[in-house]
Amino acid sequence: MTVLVFVENIDDELSQQALTFARGLGDELHAVLIGAPAVPAGLAAYGVSIAHLAAGLDAYAPAAWAQAIVELVARTTPAAVMGPGTDRGNEVLAHIAAKTDQPMAANCMSIAAGDPASLVRVRWGGSLLEEARLHGSPMLLTVAPHAVAAEMVAEPADLVLEEFTPSVSNVDLIARVCERASAVSAGVSLTDADVVVSGGRGVGSAAGFAVIEELAELLGGAVGCSRAVTSAGWRPHTDQVGQTGTKISPEIYIACGISGATQHMAGCKGAKKLLAINPDGEASIFASADYAVIGDLHEVVPAISAEIRKARSA
């Protein structure tokens, strides 16, 4: 049985895993590579006998890449086409499925040959395993990350390289990578920040966040907020820390004017230390706080900022 594997990057573990997985189903392994920078070494080590290199499609364009593979499938009639369970692997295979009107199974954990083949695949972000049967000619699937460990073959065969030029229409090239720009961000992202300074209803207004922003900037941290703040329209939802917002795990979380509702605490339980500033000594956030200041954030926060400035200029 011939299995064609879309190899996104042979140096990447997930592509290696896809090839290892494919060996469990087929005895003859073909690989297709699109936009690969050089003739890939290492393919043979994972059991590939023929590598098809698509020419002229260097920039990623999901529909066009899929079209290239569809043409290859028409010529080589493999029993199955597989891809790694990466974003691109899933996207290209989905386009192949759409173009050939065949079903596709994403994120497969294991497969047993048969007609139809039976497989187990991951659903629900890993919380559910689904037993399914896959029809289709060829069968289309992607391999769940780490479903199998990448293993080389004991005796690699000689690798045959076959270059081909797919005929891709302009329609297939509508969505493609045109330009690459490095991420420009005004500050640190909430998820990665070591310091997060958040404001709650106690900040009082959108303008009131100036003191929060100032402290965050001094500490090289990110600004967060509670749901009450986004509901009031003072900050965008992307700043919201909580059950229905961002989950954060900074070294220190400074919560200003936040009462500590369960919905909020669910988002900051990953914080190593919590400093709470709130005028209400009964506020439930103090139950989880490592450091507490009972006071008005509009006095306390500027005072902290001033101290930091003083210490740094000294």
Binding site: A228, A232, Q243, T244, A266
Partner: protein, 617 residues
């Protein structure tokens, strides 16, 4: 209908007969809005009374001097006909006035022209009948003393006993009969089809608690694999009752008017949902229901509060449609609001929706001397099912603390499951994740059955609803009561004696899952009256307005205006100083609403109110 999915709706005949009598004959649901409801009742009762006159008129067309045997000669029947012909006209004119002059918002999106045409036809039928009778009286052709027909008699003075009247008599009877025939021909293609489908839909309506969702049968050996439903993806996935629902809809908009999502500017209108589904069924369109029949946000806006179901005069069950659409989106498409994903994951992984440690579940009770039931222990009289919110949420915990203190004070034999209590699965189920719900249902039922539990008291209406109405489907049969029921009984029996404060004004907010879905209305009010001066909101009892947390909305972001803010404004409008609740989610939502809106209201669970009033005494 023939390609629709099965659903069991045949048993419980006495209750179905009862529904026909009260909802159809008695027009109970319509009369919830008394004015328009009464006008409809005039027309409907008129339709029943006047039905035999169709035969009488058909005979009259052929033979001026003939009528129905017996009934055609009865004076009392002539009186009924006369009175109801007038009442039908009154009803039609009033309805036209409502539609043309008042123009309430509930008709937005309905087929208005169609309704006008139908009202016009009915008016023609009733007025030609009266005029026909009037000419017969003028010609001395009637079978009964003219005093039996006051209206037709009054009209008869317009006509002389002459040839012109003889012609008019023919014109009126023909006009009457032809209008009826035209109406009959038009009926099957119009929204007026409800005169046929409504009674049938009411018959097959739910007879049990409205809070129970129909379980999907994943593991049932009797269901062939290819027939297992995963909710509704296309029109053919709908059950026959759901299809019948769409054909019963008269587009009256009572559901839309009651809907908290619609009231706060969201995309959902239960009426437009029904119309969208019906259009897709009629078009025999096999494309996905979402987003073709209804858009994605419509499906997620619903708080499953059931206000639409309660308002619907023809027993349409909108929430079942919504949940089936969600089930398909969640279980087949994995498509749902991203912010709800942590809740689903945490329910599965941590057995509670906030991902707290199960070992901390009984922390609130550590200093209250509450017995935590260990395996093999003697079962208590009441198992107190605390629920996740009252176990973990700092505001809702006060309810659990108060309840435990009160039960201790009254000497009730109770215990909690502590870390062995898991989420009932309700939020996952209302989100559409039936897999997760059923796993938790089975786990909890096993725990409860092993512990020998027979009676459960729950303070969370959502847990209460699931335990009482949904766990029986999974082998868990217990006597489940809400804490307000047990506490009010203890007050009645004198085991708890609160201090009543005359100056304290309290308005009670009914929880949807307690009042509407489970008919618990009196006990929480008894508790409120026991501690202070009750004052009702306009939307109360079974017509309560949701706090905004139902249907897993506790863990979703709200679009549009906030439902809780709307409800808090209504509560503050009563002038009360305390807003009493009987649900931990209502507690959190309404307290949030008060904090945002700045109203001078304390939001307290009835148990906490009672505990405070006992401490004060």
């Amino acid at each position: 209908m023939r390609s629709a999915q099965p659903v069991e709706r045949t048993g419980d005949v006495p209750r179905r007969v009862g529904n026909e009598v009260s909802i159809v004959l008695g027009q109970r649901k319509l009369l919830q809005r008394f004015g328009p409801g009464l006008m409809h009742a005039f027309i409907f009762w008129g339709f029943l009374v006047l039905a035999p006159t169709i035969l009488i008129a058909l005979i009259g067309v052929v033979d001026t001097h003939a009528t129905l045997p017996w009934l055609g000669h009865q004076g009392w029947y002539a009186l009924l006909v006369d009175v109801f012909a007038v009442l039908v006209l009154v009803g039609v004119l009033a309805e036209l006035w409502i539609r043309k002059v008042q123009r309430p918002r509930r008709f937005e999106g309905s087929h208005l022209g169609e309704a006008d045409l139908i009202l016009g036809l009915i008016a023609t039928i009733a007025s030609t009948l009266l005029l026909w009778h009037a000419t017969r009286i003028a010609l001395g052709l009637n079978e009964w003393p003219r005093a039996w027909s006051p209206a037709a008699h009054a009209l008869s003075h317009l006509f002389g006993r002459d040839e012109a009247t003889r012609v008019l008599e023919r014109v009126f009877v023909w006009a009457h009969v032809l209008t009826i025939l035209a109406f009959l021909a038009y009926l099957p293609r119009s929204k007026h089809l409800h005169i046929g489908t409504a009674a049938v839909n009411v018959w097959f309506g739910r007879t049990g608690a409205s809070g129970r969702l129909e379980p999907l049968r994943f593991d049932d050996e009797e269901v062939p694999e290819e027939e297992i439903r995963f909710g509704a993806g296309t029109a053919t996935d709908l059950t026959w009752k759901q299809v019948l629902d769409t054909f019963s809809c008269t587009e009256c908009g009572r559901c839309q008017d009651a809907c908290p999502a619609f009231a706060t500017g969201k995309a959902l209108s239960p009426k437009l949902l029904m119309m969208g589904l019906r259009d897709q069924i009629l078009a025999q369109d096999s494309s996905p229901l979402v987003p073709n029949a209804v858009t994605d946000d419509v499906v997620w806006d619903c708080v499953t509060c059931g206000a639409c179901v309660e308002a619907c005069p023809v027993s349409i069950e909108h929430v079942d449609h919504i949940v089936d659409l969600r089930r398909h989106l969640v279980m087949v498409e994995s498509s749902f609001p991203a912010e709800a994903e942590p809740m689903l994951r945490d329910v599965e992984r941590a057995s509670n929706p906030w991902g707290k440690a199960q070992s901390e579940r009984a922390d609130w009770a550590s200093e209250l001397g509450v017995r935590v039931l260990e395996p093999g222990d003697r079962p208590p009289e009441y198992l107190y099912w605390v629920g996740c919110a009252s176990s973990f949420d700092e505001r809702a915990r006060r309810t659990a603390e108060s309840t435990a203190k009160l039960l201790n004070a009254a000497g009730v034999d109770f215990a909690i499951l502590g870390p062995r209590e898991a989420c009932t699965g309700d939020p996952a189920r209302r989100m559409g994740n039936e897999y997760v719900f059923q796993a938790f249902a089975e786990q909890n039922v096993a725990t409860l059955n092993e512990a020998g539990v027979t009676k459960i008291v729950a303070n969370c209406p959502h847990c209460f609803n699931t335990l009482a109405n949904e766990y029986p489907d999974f082998g868990g049969r217990y006597e489940v009561i809400h804490h307000s029921e047990l506490l009010s009984r203890l007050v009645r029996e004198g085991k708890l004696s609160p201090q009543r404060s005359e100056s304290r004004s309290i308005t009670y907010h009914d929880s949807c899952y307690l009042a509407r879905h489970n008919d618990v209305l009196g006990p929480p009010r008894e508790l409120v009256s026991a501690v202070g001066q009750p004052v009702e909101m306009k939307r109360s009892g079974k017509r309560t307005f949701c706090c905004g947390a139902g249907g897993a909305h506790m863990w979703m972001e709200e679009r549009g205006d906030a439902i809780n803010a709307e409800r808090v404004r209504e509560a503050a409008g009563t002038g009360a100083d305390t807003l009493a609740v009987a649900c931990p989610f209502c507690t959190v939502m309404l307290d949030d609403g008060v904090q945002s809106g700045g109203q001078d209201l304390r939001v307290l669970d009835v148990a906490t109110l009672l505990a405070e009033a006992i401490d004060a005494g």
